[in-house]
Amino acid sequence: MLKEFYYMLLSFLTVFKHLFKRPVTLEYPEKKSEVGERFRGKPYMKGCIKCGTCIKVCPANAIKIEDNDFIFDMKKCIFCGNCSFYCPVKAIKMTQNYELATNDVNDLKLLYKIEGRENERLD
């Protein structure tokens, strides 16, 4: 009984102390939370050589290559980072951008153009 009462007083004191602490709230649209260095966000591609490795390793079948269009399907992507890990020329990078919500379904198809490598290959 006495012990319970002591614990109750202790909890009251603890709660009261929190009154003077700085709030941990992050006001989101104005301030954004910092993410880690290895955070895997929206994928980015530049300098693809069309080897097709990423298509094979992607567990979600989210990558498509059509001629010179490199397409990430963000509806399928699970941000595992396999594509960027296995790419032989490190063409794919996972950026820190995590604000991917959108009102338009077409925005979820990420389209990157493949440039510059065709001529070298013909040689």
Partner: protein
Amino acid sequence: MNYLYFLYIEFLAKHNIPKIFGDITFYVIPACIIFVALILVILVLVLFERKLLGWFTQRKGPNRVGFWGVLQTLADAFKLLCKENITPIGADRAVFNLAPIIMFLPVLIALGLIPFSSEFTFMNFQTNVLIYVILATFPVLSILLAGWASNNKYSLIGGVRNVAQILAYELPISFTVLSVIVLASSMNLTQITLAQSNQYGVLGWYWFPCIIGFGLMLICTLAELNRCPFDLPEAESELIAGYNTEYSGMRFALFYLSEYGMLFANSLFISVLFLGGYLSPFGKYLSPILFSGPVGNILIYFEQAFWLFAKSFLIIFIFIWVRATLPRLASFDLLKFSWNILLPLSIVNLLLMSLLKFFVGGVYA
């Protein structure tokens, strides 16, 4: 009230308005003042509670609507006004609509009984305390009606739980109030306030000799107001929202309003009984010192009201603190706690106070 009455009649006589007009309108004005003050205080109170709960849990509380979130309550009220009023099929329509209104009335009447300053008590009866104690239990009636008329199992259980709770906690309250009545030898709230003004200042107020009663009163009022940790009638993990499950829009707003109104009224009541009501904690009023002449004499009444409000907000702060700290009790523990611990304690307290009055009577007379 008499002093104000004479001032008012004199003022009317100067402008050649018949006395009968003054007799009729005089009692309308304080009623309007109380009503407007109640609405304003509730608006502040809701924000106060949400801000404090935020700070207690290291959050910021509402801070988007208006500067520092001051308009949040207004925005909520506007949202509730715009919502649809739904009456469920099978509900008892008349009772269902009547319950929120019945709940709001005792709050208004109860506020009229409180002496806000030495001249401003709307209804100054000899037995103010008794009337208040009875009125404070009135919300349970409308909660039971709401629970019954909703035709919903959750509402019904909530209403019935509330009745059991009030039955258990009203007795300790009555005994504690009785001990204060014994100390002050009066049932009039103004007399009780005046009985606490003596040379001991803050220690002369009844919270000091009657510290057990003060604690009991705080606990039991929490239960009577259905606040954490005694908010079983609206325990959302078991009963959705308890008695107001089926209420929406304006009717829900009325429940909400009267809950906070009752919180305010009860905290006023406690501060009158135990914290010296409108008395200044410094022993004498500050306004005659700060402002000389007739202005200071009139400002005394506002200062008295200010002290009363400050004390009541201190008590509300304690209530919110408790809400931020303690989890909800189980239904059975709640009743056991009252019948096994609080009721004997309150009777012991009453005996102690009677003995104190008998032997040391002169000090606390």
